[in-house]
């Protein structure tokens, strides 16, 4: 019997206290200094402190005792899986904040609420990956989503940003409704919210079979989660939100929340519903196939690089879901490795996108990258490497992510799924390679301004180092994924 206390929730408690203190600090320093719409001084104080709080919480999650423990009330659980994913989402959130602070300043939206909302969202993500009941799952998901809606509309004087925020909010509310409806069905038929009791009711040797109501409820819950993952057919919001929202929000949105949502889906499917794998496998396979194909083909015609990243994200979630669909521990491990590599690559790619600045304003068209290699050879090399890695070309990190996911699918007798995935990644390689071709072989466009922010350069450089070095030192990523997956195995 695990202990019931608040200690397993220590990272979140630290983050929540930090959020409240920093809110007051931001409000106080904002009022003193504010002369125009934004003065940026409050944000300049709050942002580094938010990053520090995120990193402290990540360290706490890493050093906490990883023997499984339930939090008071049993709605959350801390174990190896939670620890690994918490560290990853918190570090990813901190890295995205480091990436975007210069963009916030340049676009005059550097109000202190932005890092705070990101912090609240990170608390939600951190809770999501340790959800242990349907109620905890839903509350954590809402705490993660609500700040993201606001952040998408943060550039409130731009019509596109308001549109993106509204679309995201309305569709997100719809997804929450579906998720909640599914939860209520499961609760109605099972009479319990806790994952452990659900597992006991529907596990092997359970007295009752599977009530159809729980199955329908589970499908609704998966649909709600698929929305958060931006998996086809619940992806409609993604391109518009990625393009319309300020690039700072897009960079945040594309990394940590995806990992948290995948972690939540994996925890739900391999926890209480592990013995129903044949049932949910069909749904996940459908999501994976549709996401891979749509992401690959729709990306071909994009001219805006943020829209392209949206379709790339959809395709990549499809690849990660291939690992989940395998339904084995190995598959989960592969999916986690895939997601870790993907979010590192996506952070680096957004580092390059956030450096596309010309004559005082940010440009987003892919064509603007033409001839980058002549003007800015370092940035060109970084972006080209990241694109090669996203396309899955060995020996870069992206190749290994895809390889292990497909291997897991083949071992789980889903050969056709792996083949489809391979074909989709070949199609998607076109749009990644097109960028490389633009950078190296096209006549040079006007030069970009040199990026001033050290945070952006450091994060991008680290991402490139990871992509290059993964083949030499793959151990830590695999060890983390193995630790996480082992905690889920029963």
């Amino acid at each position: 019997m695990p202990a019931l206390d608040l200690v397993p929730l220590l990272p979140e408690v630290v983050l929540a206290v930090a959020a409240l203190v920093l809110l007051l600090l931001g409000a106080a320093s904002e009022r003193r200094t504010r002369t125009s719409e934004t003065s940026g001084e409050a944000a300049a104080i709050v942002t580094p402190l938010v990053v520090a709080a995120l990193l402290v919480a990540a360290v706490l999650a890493a050093v906490l005792d990883k023997t499984p423990g339930l939090v008071l009330g049993g709605h959350f659980r801390f174990d190896g899986f939670a620890a690994v994913l918490k560290v990853l989402v918190l570090v990813a959130a901190a890295a995205s904040l480091l990436l975007v602070s210069s963009y916030q300043e340049d676009e005059r939206i550097d109000r202190f609420e932005f890092p705070l909302l990101a912090l609240f969202s990170a608390i939600g993500m951190s809770l999501m990956v340790s959800a242990e009941s349907l109620l905890g799952l839903y509350m954590a998901l809402e705490l993660q989503s609500l700040p993201l809606y606001v952040m998408a509309a943060f550039q409130r004087d731009r019509l596109r940003a308001s549109e993106a925020g509204l679309k995201y909010f309305v569709l997100g509310a719809l997804a929450s409704g579906m998720l909640l409806y599914g939860c209520s069905l499961v609760y109605g038929f099972a009479g319990t919210l806790a994952f452990s009791e659900l597992a006991a009711q529907f596990g092997p040797g359970a007295p009752q079979g599977m009530p159809i109501g729980v199955l329908v409820g589970l499908v609704f819950v998966i649909a709600g989660l698929a929305f958060k993952l931006a998996a086809v057919p619940f992806h409609m919001w993604t391109p518009d939100v990625y393009e319309g929202a300020p690039t700072s929000t897009t960079a945040f949105l594309a990394a940590a929340p995806k990992l948290a949502a995948l972690g939540l889906a994996v925890r739900l499917l391999s926890g209480p519903f592990a013995d129903w794998a044949p049932q949910w496998q069909q749904v996940i396979v459908l999501l994976a196939v549709a996401s891979m194909l749509l992401g690959a083909f729709a990306g071909l015609v994009q001219t805006n690089i943020k829209r392209l990243m949206a379709y790339s994200g959809i395709a990549n979630i499809g690849f990660a879901l291939v690992g989940v669909a395998a339904g084995t521990n190995e598959g989960i491990e592969a999916a986690l490795v895939y997601m870790i590599i993907y979010i590192v690559m996506v952070l680096g790619a957004f580092g390059c996108i956030l450096a596309m600045r010309r004559e005082g304003r940010y440009v987003e068209e892919i064509a603007e990258l033409a001839g980058l290699s002549q003007r800015r050879p370092l940035m060109a090399a970084a972006l080209a490497l990241l694109m090669f890695s996203l396309a899955g070309i060995p020996p870069l990190a992206g190749f290994f992510g895809k390889y292990f996911v497909f291997l897991a699918a083949v071992r789980a007798d889903l050969v056709w799924l792996a083949v489809l995935g391979l074909l989709a990644s070949v199609v998607a390689a076109y749009y990644y390679l097109r960028i490389v071709k633009l950078i190296y072989f096209d006549p040079a466009a006007e030069p970009f301004e040199p990026p001033a922010a050290p945070g952006l350069q450091i994060v991008t450089a680290l991402s490139v180092v990871f992509v290059l070095g993964f083949v030499v030192v793959p151990g830590p990523v695999f060890a983390a994924a193995r630790l996480a997956a082992a905690a889920l195995a029963r």
């Binding site: 125009s36 009330g73 709605h75 109000r111 009479g191």
Partner: protein, 199 residues
């Protein structure tokens, strides 16, 4: 017992009558007022069946906040509601039919509920009113989730402020300290105006 039953029926009848008036009243403001009356009667019925917490919440949340908000919205909107509702009563036969079907279903549900075997799930703790019972459940077992709900509300407030609050720089504001410190000598100038010429 008979007195309680009498009160129950009175509350129920008034609730139904005011619910009818909500949709039948021509003036939308009257509709909202009838809605509030309906809420109050429903709250009274909740008290009679021993769910005093629900009654309190109904009055505080629905009457105190939601209905008053409706009232503000209705009073601020400049929509010709009377035109919108023209010919509304033509749909009465169809509406009545649907209503009768729903009523029949409700009666079926109600009778089956009344004749059911007592369920062990609904066991109540002796000597504990339901406000206390709900509270002890909410603040112990669901404490963490309750706190998360608080954080979500805080995010909603921050979001609303971040998206809508505009600090206008060019707007003239009242500065009481400056007003108090003004002297007639700095502000008032006497101008001698010659007759028939203006300033």
């Amino acid at each position: 017992m008979t007195a309680e039953l009498f009160v129950w029926w009175m509350l129920a009848l008034v609730a139904i009558a005011s619910a009818v008036m909500v949709i039948a009243a021509k003036n939308p403001v009257h509709s909202v007022l009838f809605l509030i009356l309906c809420f109050f009667n429903a709250a009274g019925m909740f008290v009679l069946i021993g769910a005093e917490f629900l009654a309190m919440i109904l009055v505080v949340v629905y009457v105190g906040a939601v209905a008053v908000l409706f009232l503000f919205v209705v009073m601020m909107l400049d929509i010709n509601f009377v035109r919108l509702r023209e010919g509304f009563l033509n749909y009465l036969p169809v509406g009545a039919l649907v209503g009768i079907v729903l009523l029949a279903e409700l009666v079926l549900v109600g009778t089956s509920w009344a004749l059911r075997e007592p369920s062990p799930v609904l066991a109540t703790v002796e000597g504990l009113d339901n406000t206390r019972a709900l509270g002890s459940f909410l603040y112990t077992e669901h404490f963490v989730v309750f706190q998360i709900a608080g954080l979500i509300l805080l995010v909603a407030i921050i979001g609303a402020i971040a998206l809508t609050l505009r600090q206008r720089v060019a707007v003239k504001r009242q500065d009481i300290a400056r007003q108090v410190h003004r002297r007639p000598a700095e502000t008032v100038t006497l101008v001698r105006v010659e007759t028939g010429k203006g300033v």
